[in-house]
């Protein structure tokens, strides 16, 4: 056990030592995997942000009942209670003028100064109603909406089905675009990695020839090369994670603010630790697969 462990650390040290003697080749392979994963990571984080927006909308507000200025919270609660009685209704949320103001402020993000001089009570209070089963049920509640419009204290009822439909369509296209982009990036990444690994193997053909000359089995040669691919892939993934972290800290807040400004929700979250581990594992896998493809094709003899 201890012997295996020692042999293992020795193998890692040897691999790193061996790579350090070919800094150019090492830089090339590591950065190829790094760039590939960086692109993939950007696409992934973007796609996830978009997906979060669409899911928050999918289960979000579908009808807004604007209340008159004269409606006090008690009256608002009574109206809310009446609406909640309906089977189709999932949730009713009372938004006070102060809540509405706070929300508006938040969604403006960096452009908060636009609200200077606006009174906190200037915005109407409202009830946000979400329906069970999502957007499609909105049409079915129209009779109820008509009745609601005539209820005292109700200023206006906005059915958000129209632009929710459009938004959902937009988000779907965005998601499809992100998936397409991710596919494209993955293909580019695999190509990049296999070209680089081939180059790296070419640079190492002397070493591989010598290994065979002194009686290395094919398993040994392959293990040697694949192990280097593994270490390089993991290194590249680590670099990609670092670069993504920097990038996220740099433009993430602005992106989040812009997105919630436009859509009223959404933020760019970074990877959680478990995902970083997965990213490193993905890099290692990419390195191994790239090396394997290259060695199958190019180092026979």
């Amino acid at each position: 056990m201890i012997r295996t462990l020692r042999a293992g650390t020795y193998a890692v040290r040897r691999a790193i030592g061996g790579m350090a003697r070919r800094p150019l080749v090492l830089a090339l392979s590591v950065s190829a995997i790094g760039v590939a994963l960086l692109l993939g990571g950007v696409v992934f984080l973007g796609a996830r942000a978009v997906a979060n927006v669409s899911s928050s909308w999918g289960g979000g507000v579908h009808m807004v009942v604007y209340l008159g200025d004269d409606v006090n919270p008690e009256r608002a609660q009574a109206i809310a209670g009446a609406i909640e009685e309906l089977d189709a209704v999932e949730e009713v949320t009372y938004i006070s003028p102060a809540d509405a103001f706070a929300r508006l402020e938040q969604s403006l993000g960096g452009r908060r100064e636009l609200l200077e001089g606006v009174e906190h009570g200037a915005l109407p209070s409202s009830l946000e109603v979400s329906f069970a089963g999502g957007v499609r049920d909105v049409a079915g509640v129209s009779p109820f909406v008509d009745r609601l419009r005539k209820t005292p204290g109700v200023e206006d009822v906005e059915l958000v089905s129209d632009w929710v439909d459009r938004l959902v369509f937009l988000l779907r296209s965005l998601r499809a675009g992100a998936i397409g982009l991710a596919l494209l990036v993955s293909l580019a990444a695999i190509y990049l990695v296999s070209v680089t690994v081939r180059l790296a193997l070419h640079a190492r053909r002397d070493e591989i020839a010598i290994l065979r000359l002194v009686g290395a089995t094919e398993r040994y040669v392959k293990g040697h090369v694949l192990f280097d691919g593994l270490v390089q892939g993991a290194l590249g993934a680590g670099l990609a994670a670092g670069a993504l972290h920097l990038l996220h800290g740099w433009i993430g807040p602005d992106l989040s603010a812009t997105m919630s400004g436009i859509l009223g929700t959404g933020s760019f979250a970074f990877f959680v630790p478990r995902e970083i581990v997965a990213l490193v594992a993905l890099g290692a896998t990419l390195g191994v697969v790239g090396s394997w493809l290259a060695i199958e094709k190019h180092v026979d003899a």
């Binding site: 290994l211 000359l213 002194v214 009686g215 290395a216």
Partner: protein, 305 residues
Amino acid sequence: MIALEHVSRRYGRAGEIVALDDVSLEIDEGEFVLLSGPSGAGKSTLLKLIFAAERPESGTIRVLGHDLARLRGSSVPFLRRNIGVVFQNFRLLPGLSALDNVAIALEVRGLPRRVIRERAASALGLVGLARRLEARAGWLSAGEQQRVAIARAIAGEPAILLADEPTGNLDPRLTLDLLQILFEVNRRGTTIIVATHDLQVMAAGARHGWRHLGLETGRIVAPTRHQWLDDAEMVAAAVAPHDLGSVPPIAHDPSHSADHAIFADQPSLHDLMPEQLALAPSGYDESAAEIVPLHVVRSANGRPS
């Protein structure tokens, strides 16, 4: 130990290049064999067949009890661990230390690290590099690099050592050092085959009584006079016709005996250039440092007149 029977190897699409043509030979355990012949004679091909880097078109090859035609690909590495190989261009990894270069040959056997270090160091000690273990191979001199290559080849204590033009990049003095090392390795029981067209190596072989095989256009031939120099008269005859200017011909040089004249790096006497001649005092094996280049005046056309 090594036996070839009617072995042929051709190259080219239609097999029009004959590298080896119906070669049969047998080499016993502990022999030291010189394989000489001009460039393109098939020397390298013969060595490659022996360590299973190539396969013959026809004929059978037996090495260390294996019929190579029946040896499975997966068994070749284990055969190679019993055959050390050395090349003209050393084939070291220049970025690695001498020790690590030698260690490679032991690592592929999966030996424990401590054993690897010990054996690699002792192999380097045997070739006189005990004090250069940590030197980067790329920074060593040609002679030292070739010694590292030999250490790598013998570190696993192979039964056979093959050397393909091992002195091709070495000057006459380093050639003598190298032969000394090979001699010592052979004395310890390793069977050695040296492929060479280096007359200096052949002369040394004659002195030590090594077996000599001639190869020409893929066929084993009796070593001809120009491949096989062990005759003082022949050396003198070779030098005498040339204009030696102020330096007297070897045969007349009182301080050197003609049988220690050394020809470096030349396949045929007819092509001999004067600057490729060197004189060594008697007993050069022990005092290689005292080798004296022979100054020969060249004629106007660059050849000895």
